[in-house]
C-alpha cells in the first residue's frame, strides 16, 4: 500500500520548487510564492498547490485556504484575453452593469467564466482607479473607458486573432 499519488510533470514540479526556494521555502512567504506561481502557470491547480505545500512544509489545506480566500488567485485557467469589468461605484452609477450584461450575452458566459474556445474570460472587479473614465473595463490590462454597451461587440472583434 502506498499513499495518494499526485501526478505532475517533472518540469512543473522543478519550477515550483525553484520558486519556493527563491523565497527560502519560508511558509510566511506563501502569498508571494502563490503570486509567482500563478504568474508562471496562469492558474493554481490542485497539484501545484500540493507541491507548494510540500516545499513550504505546511498542510495543503493552508495553501488552499489562501487560494480560495483571495479572488486574485484562481484554480481555473483564465482566457487568452482576460476581461475585467469595473463595478466600482463610479462605474456602477454610469451603467457598468449594462456593459457587463452586453459582454455576457456576447460571449455567452457569466462572471468568472471562460469561453469554450478558451479565448475570453470574464471577471468583475471593484475599481481600477479610473473613475473619470467610467464605465471602464480592461482586457489583458488594456483599459477601455466611457463605454456604452453598443461598443462591446466591436471591441471584442479587435481580438479576432
Amino acid at each position: 500500500m502506498c499513499g495518494p499519488k499526485i501526478k505532475i510533470s517533472e518540469a512543473n514540479y522543478l519550477k515550483i520548487k525553484e520558486i519556493c526556494a527563491s523565497f527560502n521555502n519560508n511558509p510566511g512567504e506563501l502569498i508571494n510564492v502563490l503570486h509567482k506561481t500563478q504568474e508562471h502557470f496562469g492558474y493554481l491547480p490542485e497539484e501545484v498547490q500540493q507541491v507548494v505545500a510540500d516545499c513550504l512544509g505546511i498542510p495543503v489545506g493552508k495553501v488552499f485556504g489562501v487560494v480560495s480566500f483571495y479572488s486574485f488567485f484562481t484554480m481555473k485557467p483564465k482566457g487568452k484575453y482576460a476581461i475585467s469589468v469595473c463595478l466600482g461605484t463610479a462605474c456602477y452609477v454610469k451603467g457598468a452593469e449594462k456593459i457587463l450584461d452586453a459582454l455576457k450575452s456576447e460571449l455567452k458566459i457569466s462572471e468568472g467564466g471562460v469561453t469554450d474556445d478558451g479565448k475570453f474570460s470574464l471577471d468583475v472587479l471593484r475599481c481600477v482607479g479610473a473613475c473619470g473614465l467610467a464605465p471602464v473595463m480592461t482586457i489583458n490590462g488594456k483599459t477601455y473607458g466611457r463605454l456604452v454597451p453598443e461598443q462591446v461587440k466591436n471591441i471584442l472583434a479587435e481580438y479576432a486573432d
Binding site: T89, A90, V93
Partner: protein
C-alpha cells in the same frame, strides 16, 4: 503615513512652509484635499480643493453641474464605508468633521455624484454587494449579517419588502456596526443607515407603493403604451418574448402587466415613443 496623498503634500509644505499650508482649510482640517470626482457630473476627474469648500462649489463650479441637465440627488463620499450627502448639505463646508456630522466620512476621497435616475435603495444594495464580497467570514455579524442586509435590500428592490423589513434593516445595521470584528464590518451598514436617514421616503415608496421613483429597480418598472401615440404598427407585440402585448393592426396596443417581464424590448422597438416607463 502610508498614503500617497499625504506624501504628495510634503514637498509643497517644505517649500512653502507650514504656515502657508495651515492658512488653507478650516479650523480643524488644514490644507487641501484631493477628491476623485465622478458620476453624473459634467467634469469628472481628480480635483484638489481647499478644505472647507462647499459641495455646491465642487459640483456646480468645478464639476460643471449635473450631466444632461438632470436633477442633483446625492453625493456619495468615503466609499463603501461612507454615506450620502444630499441637497440640504450643498452649502456645508466640507472637512473631516462636517462629513462625519452629516453621517458620511472622508474615507477614500471618492465623491460620486448621483442624479434623479439613481435609486438610493439600489445604491445601498450595491454597496452591500461589495461588503458581502469583501467580508472575510471570520465574525458572524459581517459574514451572515451583511448577507442578510443584502437579501433584505434585494427583497425591497424586488418589490417584496415590508415595513417590518425596514425595521429589521435598522436594527441589523446598528447591531453589525456594534459587534463586527474589524473596520469593514463596523462600517458596512453605513450606506444603508445613511440612505435610510436621508431617503426614508424612497424606501417607504418601494415597500408600500411598489414604486421606484428613479426607475432603476427593474422589478418595479411598469411599461405603458400611450394610446394617443401608438400607431398600431405591431412591432412591439411581435418583439415581446412573452406575448404580453395585444392589439390589432393600426389600433392602439395594450401591455398585460401580469405577463410583462420588464425586459424593455418593446420600449426599444417602438419607433413612435409611445411606450413609457413608470
Amino acid at each position: 503615513m502610508n498614503n500617497v496623498e499625504t506624501y504628495a503634500n510634503i514637498p509643497v509644505i517644505i517649500n512653502k512652509g507650514a504656515d502657508w499650508f495651515s492658512s488653507i482649510g478650516t479650523e480643524k482640517s488644514k490644507g487641501t484635499k484631493v477628491f476623485a470626482l465622478a458620476g453624473k457630473i459634467n467634469n469628472v476627474g481628480l480635483i484638489e480643493v481647499p478644505m472647507g469648500i462647499t459641495l455646491r462649489e465642487i459640483i456646480y463650479e468645478i464639476g460643471g453641474g449635473i450631466k444632461g441637465g438632470k436633477k442633483f440627488k446625492a453625493v456619495q463620499t468615503g466609499g463603501p464605508s461612507g454615506g450620502c450627502l444630499t441637497e440640504k448639505h450643498l452649502d456645508t463646508p466640507i472637512d473631516y468633521d462636517s462629513l462625519v456630522a452629516a453621517g458620511s466620512m472622508m474615507g477614500s476621497g471618492g465623491m460620486i455624484v448621483m442624479d434623479e435616475d439613481d435609486c438610493m435603495v439600489a445604491i445601498a444594495k450595491f454597496y452591500l454587494g461589495f461588503t458581502v464580497d469583501e467580508s472575510c467570514g471570520k465574525c458572524t455579524p459581517c459574514r451572515v449579517g451583511n448577507k442578510r442586509l443584502h437579501e433584505i435590500l434585494t427583497k425591497i428592490t424586488d418589490g417584496k419588502g415590508t415595513m417590518e423589513d425596514l425595521e429589521k434593516l435598522k436594527n441589523l445595521s446598528s447591531v453589525i456596526k456594534d459587534t463586527a470584528l474589524c473596520g469593514l464590518g463596523q462600517t458596512s451598514p453605513n450606506p444603508v443607515l445613511s440612505t435610510i436617514n436621508n431617503f426614508w421616503d424612497e424606501y417607504v415608496e418601494h415597500v408600500t407603493e411598489k414604486k421606484c421613483r428613479a426607475g432603476q429597480c427593474k422589478a418595479l418598472k411598469k411599461y405603458y403604451i400611450d394610446p394617443e401615440k401608438c400607431k398600431g404598427c405591431t412591432a412591439c407585440a411581435r418583439a415581446c418574448p412573452v406575448g404580453a402585448i395585444t392589439g390589432t393592426l393600426k389600433n392602439p396596443h395594450v401591455i398585460d402587466q401580469d405577463k410583462c417581464i420588464k425586459c424593455g424590448t418593446c420600449y426599444e422597438k417602438c419607433r413612435f415613443g409611445a411606450i413609457s416607463i413608470k
